[in-house]
Amino acid sequence: MASKPGSAPTTYTPTPTRKSRPPIFKDSDVDWVRPDGRGFHQCRPAFFRTGAVNAAAGSAYAEFGNTKVIVSVFGPRESKKAMMYSDVGRLNCNVSYTTFATPVRGQGSDHKEFSSMLHKALEGAIMLETFPKTTVDVFALVLESGGSDIPVVISCASLALADAGIMMYDLVAGVSVSCLGTNLVIDPILEEESCQDGNLMMTCMPSRYEVTQLTVTGEWSSAKMNEAMQLCLDACSKLATIMRSCLKEAASATQD
């Protein structure tokens, strides 16, 4: 009996076991509290650590509430054989999710859209001309998705690049804002993202006051948009301070 168990997998019909969705907390204009008790303009506590993966040239782990991501950087290394000659370096990005990242079990496949967003957000910050003919690979794995995944991935990736010693103009910090009714909430969690009316995500290089990427979905008035952008810029510069201090800590730890 013990000889070949599980050789004939049974057909299964997984039923979604969730009975009732969490009550919608959004009542327009009324004072409601965010599910995790934060203020509207308050970000989740951010935790960063570099050197999470030994096998990689550089890596970083980021945890914002329940959003947990790991980014590994490999290279600069030989480009794919099929690639043409190029006097500037190439950047190759990939974002994937674990099967248990989302509340309902997923397939754990690559996230094409996020991969290209990550590429675009980082491209402008890296000095590609410092590694001609070669490729730098930036691979991200979302261990757990708790909302605002892509901005966290982008911030974490720029830290991993710095850990790998890839030349950059500045660290890239990413923050998103959700529009819920008349309110703007920063750094939304999964629950808030699922019932948002619009979303604005900004990644920028705070020391240079330059934006590398701005993504807007949903309907926004220009006043709202300005307010949201200002919120993001402020949050990004604060985030970059945390990221920078994480790098400094790691550097002083290795010196000792």
């Binding site: 013990a2 019909t13 076991t17």
Partner: protein
Amino acid sequence: MGLPNVSGDLSAEMEVDAFRRLFPLRFYERHLADSIRPDARPLGRARDTTMALGAVASADGSALTKIGSTTMLAAIKMEVMTPSTDSPDEGCIAIDFHMPPICSPIVRPGRPAEAAPVVSKQLSDTILSSGMIDLKELSLVSGKAAWMAYLDIYCLDADGALFDCALLSAVAAFSNLQIPVVSLNDDGKIVVVSEEGEEGKLEKEPVNKEKRKLTLRSLPFSLTCILHKNYILADPTAEEESIMETLVTVVLDSSSRLVSFYKPGGPVLAYTSAVQDCVALTRQRVKELQKILDEAVSGMEID
């Protein structure tokens, strides 16, 4: 390797790192002759092992384990399925091992690592044949509903002894598993009973009485060793695995029964004495790992 004499002459003036890269085998053999390894371990010692249970909030059971720098994250998600007619009272376990591109420079996106399906198969064979889990405990309503436990193990950092670390994280995730309380609704579907027990609602009787844990019988633990000449190196790093290619993985359960003796080829032959030495090393390691797991579990209960 082909020029042993040359390396002997050069080694005096060469930098250690250069020597290590150019003549890796000679580098190791010099250490082995003094019964020490480059990372300062004696030959039979495994690397430091740590474990954190409940690392993933969105899963029903999870564990993060580290052996040296090899890191594995295992998580279990419970879903409901209709059991097959052959075994109406049994649930099912689906085990998958993933090597995402973050874990090693040799894995590229879109091209899965060669080792991943092999480790995956080894893990399911080991866990199922060890009899650790009674599939009957995963039954909910006979013939109608049973649990399908999806165990996914992600390698976050690959530095040798992947199977050992993966098996440890799998066992730890199962001991961390909390099965949700569910009931059967009128449509014959299984639904989650909310924990607060909202009164007044027409809640059906829960199918499984309380938040249950699986009773785990005889846990399997493993140790991988390298055979090189007459040396046996326990718990190899990735570098050691690439230089000395004969690997032996022994899996024993808590009562010292042999679950698997796995030696996939390799230039060194295993004689009876080597087999017994590997088993003896594994016996010691099983005790260590059992202790680490017990500590992690009792640590969770205090919280």
